[in-house]
């Protein structure tokens, strides 16, 4: 067993653990935005670890494709979470009682009061 094997074993198991944690979060968190955190983020890290762990075992030529998958995942995950989160907030799908502070809501309420559209 070479050093590469050990590193990829650690990465593969670690990646699987993060994917599992993400799944548990989706199961347990209260609303859309909280679940979004669990669905997109630990899973992104888990996927990247899995991909890197696999890439170590491959020739660089094939490994480079996996690195691209990781890269596009990192670029798209924040965009998705922003879009979905924004829609959830605007349509009221977010559970307001689980928010301890909502400075955006305060501002929107203020601007509604002064007649500006938010």
């Amino acid at each position: 067993m070479s050093v590469g094997d050990v590193i990829s074993a650690v990465l593969l198991i670690g990646g699987a653990v993060f994917c599992l944690l993400g799944a548990l979060g989706v199961l347990w968190f209260p609303d859309v935005t909280a679940r979004l955190q669990a669905a997109t983020k630990p899973q992104t890290l888990g996927l990247i670890m899995l991909l890197v762990g696999t890439a170590i075992q491959l020739d660089f030529l094939y490994g480079s494709g996996l690195i691209m998958v990781a890269m596009f995942q990192m670029i798209t995950a924040p965009v998705i979470s922003q879009m979905v989160g924004r829609v959830a907030y605007r349509t009221g799908a977010m559970r307001k009682e689980s928010l301890v502070v909502d400075e955006l809501g305060e501002r929107l309420a203020r601007e509604e009061g002064t007649g500006k559209s938010g």
Binding site: G4, I7, S8, V10, L11, F18, L21, L24, G25, W28, F29, P30, T33, A34, L36, Q37, A38, K41, P42, T44, L45, V52, A55, I56, L61, Y62, S64, G65, I67, M68, M74, I75, A77, P78, V79, S81, Q82, G85, R86, Y89, S98, L99, V100, V101, D102, E103, L104, G105, R107
Partner: protein, 212 residues
């Protein structure tokens, strides 16, 4: 007529988009997974067509790339990814459906489009936080943060997001943006050490992409 001048303008600035063509060709090569003359030529043609047919809107690029700072930013980001992944996992295990969250307004010191966009993306990349709304004119991020216990945590979230922004500004921001950081005061932005990187994150096996 206007189409003609637009086309001419496109041609004139074509060389500026050469890096984009190179990058797209590289992506093309990696997708094919082969390296020969035909693939390279095909890649250059496809990339040029993409760049010419779908020109990106011009943005002001006053930023400056500081390679050492970029490395620091990447390292910080990796530590942040691990720590916040554990935090979110801990929230889900210990609080579950009773997890509390909050939306915090955070000032944005930078005034360069791609710096603001990068900062927003990186804040959203780490688990537990994402930028719900950007007010570009008044320079405010509205950040959703998971795992807040009460209103007193808002200051902590604000500090963390400001710190993330300061790393981005130092890596790719313009000189003005870096100067704007100094006005934030020493407590908010001038912490050189990676924040909240616990020993567990540092003691992990070195990620292989740094070995190569």
């Amino acid at each position: 007529m206007s189409k003609m001048t637009a086309l001419l303008a496109t041609r004139r600035h074509a060389w500026r988009r050469a890096p984009l063509v190179v990058w797209l060709t590289l992506v093309w090569l990696m997708l094919w997974g082969t390296l020969d003359v035909a693939t390279v030529l095909g890649g250059v043609i496809v990339a040029s067509v993409v760049v010419l047919v779908f020109p990106m809107p011009p943005i002001t690029r006053r930023g400056r790339l500081r390679p050492l700072r970029v490395l620091q930013l990447l390292w910080w980001l990796l530590a942040d990814l691990f720590t916040s992944a554990f935090q979110v996992a801990w929230e889900s295990i210990s609080y579950g459906p009773r997890t509390k969250a909050g939306i915090v307004a955070v000032p944005v010191p930078a005034d360069t489009d791609h710096v603001v966009a990068t900062a927003a993306n990186l804040v959203s990349l780490g688990p537990g936080k994402f930028v719900l709304q950007i007010d570009r004119e008044q320079r405010v991020f509205y950040v959703y943060a998971l795992g807040m216990q009460g209103e007193e945590d808002a200051a902590k979230i604000r500090r963390e997001v400001l710190e993330m922004q300061s790393w981005v500004v130092r890596a790719i921001g313009s000189d003005e943006d870096v100067r704007a950081l100094d006005h934030l005061g020493p407590t908010e932005a001038d912490q050189p050490a990676p924040p909240s990187a616990p020993p567990s994150a540092g003691a992990r096996p070195t990620p292989p992409e740094e070995d190569r």
